[in-house]
Amino acid sequence: MAILSAALEFASATDPGRVRSHNEDSIGTEPEVGLAVLADGMGGYNAGEVASGIAVAVVSAEIKRALSGRTLHSIDPATGRTEAECIALKHSAKANTSIFEAARSQPQYSGMGTTLVVALFFDNRVCVAHVGDSRLYRLRADAFEQITRDHSLLQEQIDSGMITREAAKLSQNKNLVTRALGIDAEVETEVHVYETKPGDTYLLCSDGLSDMVGDDDMKITLASLQANLQLAAEQLVQQANDNGGRDNISVILVRVKDDYAAPKGWIARLISWFK
């Protein structure tokens, strides 16, 4: 794991924005295990904070604990998925249950929920799990791309062709997500694994950033401030605020500085062979 923490650089920033009185977003980073978690809570009074707080706490702690002694790149024979994906799925489901139960047992939390985006780095790859409209973007060389696809009404309208990407920017239905943690007894978490390359920068953010700052500006900021990742994160938040800051803004940046291939010596192979 020492290799992993040296290969990755983390930075983050979160801000209530200029309209909301409190911050319902929660973020968590665990650089030593290559984990970043971001959640955007919703629900009355402080329930949104509670939901996103539970999501980040449960997912970070559980994944961190599950990692010890596991080889994330080994394939689970039952599902054909990497161990990383299985862990991400399992623990986002756990977070879902925790929030759902809290909402059921305490009336003041009823109806609370949260989005979630998780990036778990391992073996020159990143496992991305998400629910709702919090996003992961990647800057690779000159290409800035949105990796996750929102679980939102708007995204479904775009997919079905009834509204163009351009027109979507004018939509009034930006804030309706079709999936969230804590709303139902079960949740369908979307999970994928992508190869990473040294030089990549990954951006996890809540819609408070992606609704207020255009892709081009995000790209310029990441590209020109790579040397100072923390400044880049703060600049992104500042731009969202300069553009109105209408929602809570959260940003986690992860820069891949180096290779971090998992050790594949004969012992590792032997262990994975027995699994």
Binding site: S110, G111, L153, Q157, M162, I163, V177, T178, I183, E186
Partner: protein, 296 residues
Amino acid sequence: MAKLILSLDGTVMKEVPLDRERLTVGRRSSNDLQIDNLAVSGEHALIVTILNDSFLEDLGSTNGTLVNGVPIKKHILQHNDVIEIGKYKLKYIAEHIATGMQPAVAAEFEKTMVIRPGMAARAAQTGASPAFGAGPAATATTTQPGSAGQAASPITGQQSRPASAPPAAPPPPAARPTTQPLASATQSYAGPAPTQTNLQPQAPAAGQLLGAIQILTGPSAGKELELVKNLTTLGKPGVQVAVITRRPQGYFITHVEGANFPIVNGKTLDAQAHPLRDHDIVELAGVKMEFFHKGA
């Protein structure tokens, strides 16, 4: 609820509330809004309304549909858009904008909410969602390709239904959950959306002066650089880099990397952003440059 105001030669004829998911406009009497004029096609246009958005579509009419003077095939309506069909004009009024909600209230409604199957019946009862009625409307939308119901239908299949609903949520409708088109919010979503609609990044204020940098020393002395972008980095990567940000309040310089911090008017900066004023002298990686405002 949004509405259309029908007028002919400046005379208002009718107000048409967008109280249903699909509202058809045409010459024939089968339309929801009939305009009996030969310049209007039998089935001329369709307006699909989903929560706070209304989509206008021309149904292949002979004389076309214009929005704000521009012919359209499909268009997402914005407050005060004027639709022209023949000599008739339809002005689109997004009610929540017209009535001017309090910003605080507006912010409340703008919060992210979850929509999911099983909420449609309640929405229809409270009138919160004009678009997605339960019952017959549901059947209709699933048979209309490209309609709102179609767009939303994947949700129904994907989401697992709760073993038991949370206390505040209404019980899921027992009948035919698979044909429920869409849903409304889990929070009591009784009102429309916010007053400000444009969430797009705004360009720096139009009145803001354009800043520029002129290099004073070194090999590129005399060179001038206009600071058009929101972010401009200066210096030598790996040695010393600073960034000049363009913000609504003006230009700011911030240290990015390197052991030495930028010097402005002979004073060394700290890690904080520093506002730049006209004719400030910046020293960076041994090069002096002047910041100034271009033209007035």
